[in-house]
Amino acid sequence: MTDPVEESLRRSLARQAAERDPVIDLGAVLARSARRRRTRRAAAGVALACAAGLGGTVVPSLLNPEPRPETLAENPVPSVAEDPKRLQRRVLAAVGNDGRLVGSPTSVGPGVIGLSEAGPLLAGRARRAGTAVVIDVPREGGATWTMSVGAQTLDRPPSEAEARALGSARASSPNARPIAEQLLPGGGRALAYGQPQGVLGVAVLPGGVLATADIATGARPVPTPEMASLALRVLRALEPDGSGSP
């Protein structure tokens, strides 16, 4: 004879599991070729954060870049064209709006990303980065757009020549700055992830309003609650006081 409690439990579990389609594709975007474990984990964390920023519609190639011929034709990056895998050996760096490198994401915890201290080693790794990754962490109010490209920190989008030299095909997108300013009209914080195919920006505006933009195309994905939660946690982890350490 069937136990009614057990039957009820089975039905309940089946219903809960079928409640909605899960937001998935998360892991499909892991940056696979980073050589060092901690870099790989960090890349994965940021990748996953940004993946969630797309509302669950992840473009696998976004973070596992296969250089698109048209992109390369627009912005030839010889070193990448010769060795596409080099694109994947990215280094992540975080900068404050005072222009200093604050650290590199080193670990992925439950929804947070740990940061290393900036130091000569990080600068060296950043210098060798094939792709510019931008994380803008304004420490005070005011619209800022700080870009870390390799070991250099610029207060402007890099020129095409600079971007090419650094192997980032899209870092010179002319859309980047206006969109960043649009996202941060009165301060707030932004997280952006640079890729040859585009830069996804996630910004938390004053008052907790979340805005997003694909900086390369100007597309504005609709933020989801999951995205808001994730973005806030990631950004909390990037607080300069280190309060977000996992």
Binding site: A17, E19, R41
Partner: protein, 169 residues
């Protein structure tokens, strides 16, 4: 047959892992965090995992252990409640009853200790034998049985009709 790529693995097993995590965790946000963390771990060991007979079983084991040892951030501290702000269920003929039953069960499950919850999910949703559950949890089969029995007993206590007050003095 070639070993599956990590992307293929995620495409096939990811939704199942997410649903499984949802049952363990009780909410989608934590479930997605658990899946994320699990996939990072699996990815780091992918060369070894992809040669396993059942990579998904390994991922579930990782996920379950993550869930059991999950240290929540203060900001997301769990507050089990009988009234879960659940997502709306898809329309069904018995929507009202089904939804009420689901919410009630979900609330009760959420109130159980994590190990009991994990055992019940593995037993009644994944249909695992106790020996396999024990392997996933890293305990003995008899311990898994005790957890299941205690969990069911707790659910039964809530299901049981309230004692009649007739005859009370």
């Amino acid at each position: 047959m070639p070993d599956p790529s990590f992307e293929e693995f995620v495409a096939v097993s990811g939704p199942r892992l997410a649903r499984y995590a949802r049952l363990l965790a009780g909410d989608w946000a934590l479930a997605e965090d658990l899946v994320q963390d699990t996939l990072v771990t699996v990815h780091l060991k992918w060369k070894r995992v992809q040669k396993m007979d059942h990579p998904e079983a390994y991922a579930k084991k990782v996920l379950t252990r993550r869930f059991l040892s999950w240290k929540r951030l203060r900001s997301s501290k769990e507050a089990p409640s009988g009234l879960l702000a659940d997502r709306p269920a898809p329309a069904a003929p018995d929507h009202g009853i089904a939804s009420a039953e689901r919410d009630e069960q979900a609330g009760m499950l959420a109130a159980l200790p994590r190990r009991q919850r994990a055992v019940l999910v593995l037993r009644y949703h994944e249909d695992m034998p106790y020996e396999q559950i024990a392997e996933v949890l890293g305990c003995t089969a008899s311990t898994a049985r005790v957890h299941a029995a205690n969990g069911i007993a707790a659910l039964r206590a809530v299901h049981a009709p309230a004692p009649s007050r007739e005859g009370a003095t």
